[in-house]
């Protein structure tokens, strides 16, 4: 998420190789001004285009299969449609106003309307193709995050939410909750932005611990509670109908996450390499931790546990991948694996809410653990500046806690208000008959499995 790195890396490459094409530079400009010149570095462009595609792949097929396998077979298309339709709808919103509301302007709290319809991002008569490339890459990369974040919430209300209400909720959630949080944390002027010298609480959030996982995870909890339990929850069995899909989905998420985290370096540089390796190690430790916890607690490890552990580790390393080394990644992944295991089993059972696919248990809890632990482990060897508790900066913990609380609060309060309004106007749930019939037929007139 560090636009500054892309600029820096590009300028560095330009100076080093002397092969740049300073499209906007006047000959009279000073060296300082030249460093701001946008020059295309094919390595960075290639990596960022790849990363953007990888992040899109996380929503579908990644999340669509991961979630799709976990529901009963009468609801698989319902879940997959939520993922696929969000790929469409959220991208449209991103182009129209989302990007502008997230990254426009210099206000610390809100974006503005400067970039409506990607104004200034797509080439115009005055702006050449080359000059717009870095802006356009950043826009599309960020747009992929705008898609997957509301898709994560779908796990909480799976198997019972009305499709029309889901669309309206996701659209409003994206504009009113995601965009402000992304602005706080990642816009150069944001009040939580790590590299904004005027930020009130500069928090470390490399790839979206607060923006993506805490915001969606906490909203998911509100959804699970307000939408209510599935019919027959606790009385009739609701086992996953196809864990092979879930396994494929988890593996695709793992691969896609390399784009998510290593891509957040916004360049093919050392940050990207470290983020890639730390991400991998966290996922690996998550697998061992969650499956290991099951092994100890109930005698057998499960494939669902291994997959869930990988995702928990990946969620946890997301805010930290640009501030900790791969061995810290192992520690984070391990703690997230254990922590999310207890959140999805003990905690959920204790309170009795029906977070159907554990969107809160994995993303809310894992994201919070990661956002806290990056404040502990952040090291100068990786960040080059800001450090955490272990290197003598306890103040960073305060920043982390504030960023967690702020994004959780907006997610919870915002979702609560949105859902109350939607409940009164459109209704949140399908009818009981429709729920029994399944979302595939009742919402889409289709069936997932037709073998004859």
């Amino acid at each position: 998420m560090k636009k500054i790195f892309l600029r820096g890396a590009i300028a560095f490459a330009t100076v080093l190789l002397m092969t740049g094409i300073p499209v906007l530079a006047d000959d009279a400009e000073t060296i300082e001004e030249v460093t701001e010149v946008v020059t295309i570095d094919s390595g960075n462009v290639a990596w960022m285009l790849t990363s953007s595609a990888l992040v899109l792949m996380m929503t579908a097929p990644g999340l669509a299969l991961f979630y799709g396998g976990l529901v009963r077979k009468k609801n698989i298309l319902g879940v997959m449609m939520q993922c696929v339709f969000l790929m469409g709808m959220m991208s449209v919103i991103w182009a129209i106003c989302g990007y502008s509301l997230a990254f426009g302007g210099t206000n610390p709290y809100f974006g503005n309307f400067d970039h409506l319809f990607l104004k200034g991002i797509i080439p115009s008569a005055e702006l050449s193709m080359e000059a717009s490339v870095d802006g356009m890459i950043f826009t599309v990369f960020q747009g992929m995050f705008f898609i997957i974040t509301p898709a994560l919430i779908c796990g909480a209300f799976a198997e019972r939410m009305k499709f029309s209400t889901m669309c309206v909720y996701s659209a409003l959630w994206g504009v009113l909750i995601y965009c402000p949080i992304a602005h706080w944390v990642w816009a150069d002027s944001g009040w939580l932005c790590e590299w904004n010298e005027a930020a009130l609480f500069p928090a470390l959030d490399f790839a979206g611990g607060t923006v993506v996982h805490i915001s969606s995870g906490c909203s998911a909890l509100v959804c699970a509670i307000l939408v209510g339990k599935r019919l027959g929850f606790g009385q009739e069995p609701m086992p996953p109908h196809n864990l092979t899909y879930t396994t494929i989905g988890a593996a695709l998420l793992w691969v896609g996450w390399f784009g998510f985290n290593a891509g957040s370096a916004l360049a093919a540089n050392a940050f990207a390499v470290n983020a890639f390796v730390a991400t991998h190690m966290a996922a690996a430790a998550g697998v061992v931790a969650w499956a290991g916890a099951e092994w100890v607690k109930r005698g057998k490890p499960s494939i669902l546990g291994a997959c869930s552990g990988a995702v928990a580790g990946l969620v946890c390393i997301t805010p930290a991948a640009g501030a900790v080394n791969p061995i810290h990644g192992l520690i984070l992944g391990f703690i997230a694996g254990i922590g999310c295991f207890f959140a999805c089993t003990t905690l959920k059972n204790h309170f009795g809410y029906d977070d159907s696919l554990d969107a809160f248990g994995v993303h809310g809890v894992g994201g919070t653990i990661g956002a806290l632990l990056v404040g502990v482990f952040a090291t100068v060897h990786i960040t080059g500046g800001r450090v955490g508790l272990l290197e003598g900066n306890p103040g960073q913990m305060v920043n982390q806690v504030v960023s967690i609380a702020a994004s959780a609060a907006l997610g919870i309060i915002g979702s609560f208000i949105l859902l109350k309004i939607l409940d009164a106007t459109m209704g949140l749930r399908v009818s009981q008959d429709e729920e029994r019939q399944g979302l595939d037929l009742s919402q889409h007139d289709e069936e997932g499995y037709i073998f004859l």
């Binding site: 069995p237 086992p239 996953p240 499960s302 669902l304 869930s308 999805c344 089993t345 003990t346 059972n349």
Partner: protein
């Protein structure tokens, strides 16, 4: 004519099929079924949610034989499908009123 329905374990299907063919049975219908008898079901756990699954998956074989060949077929199933453990399955025998080959319209023993 008799109809024999045998509920057996999945992994015994090939052996039973071969033994029945040996015993002169010329055709059979096989389906995947679920049910329960004395064999208990099993428990499944998904992220801490525990379910008891009562219905155990089995394979059902249906064959039709002439009255005087029933015992041979039953013996073939008994010797091949048995493991001695609970859950080996059951054999049901019933009388069959008629059997007809669709292609030719042949009936009774001719149609088998």
């Amino acid at each position: 004519m008799k109809k024999i329905e045998a509920i057996i374990r999945h992994f015994k299907l090939e052996e039973v099929k071969d033994a029945l063919t040996e015993a002169g049975v010329s055709g059979m219908t096989v389906s995947e079924v679920k049910g329960f008898g004395r064999q208990k079901g099993h428990k499944e756990q998904y992220r801490g949610a525990e379910y008891t699954v009562d219905f155990v998956p089995k394979v059902k074989i249906e064959i039709i034989t002439a009255d005087d060949e029933v015992q041979k077929a039953i013996d073939a199933i008994l010797t091949t499908a048995r493991t001695g453990q609970i859950g080996d399955g059951k054999i049901f025998v019933s009388s069959l009123t008629e059997a007809i080959r669709i292609r030719t319209g042949e009936t009774g023993g001719e149609s088998l």
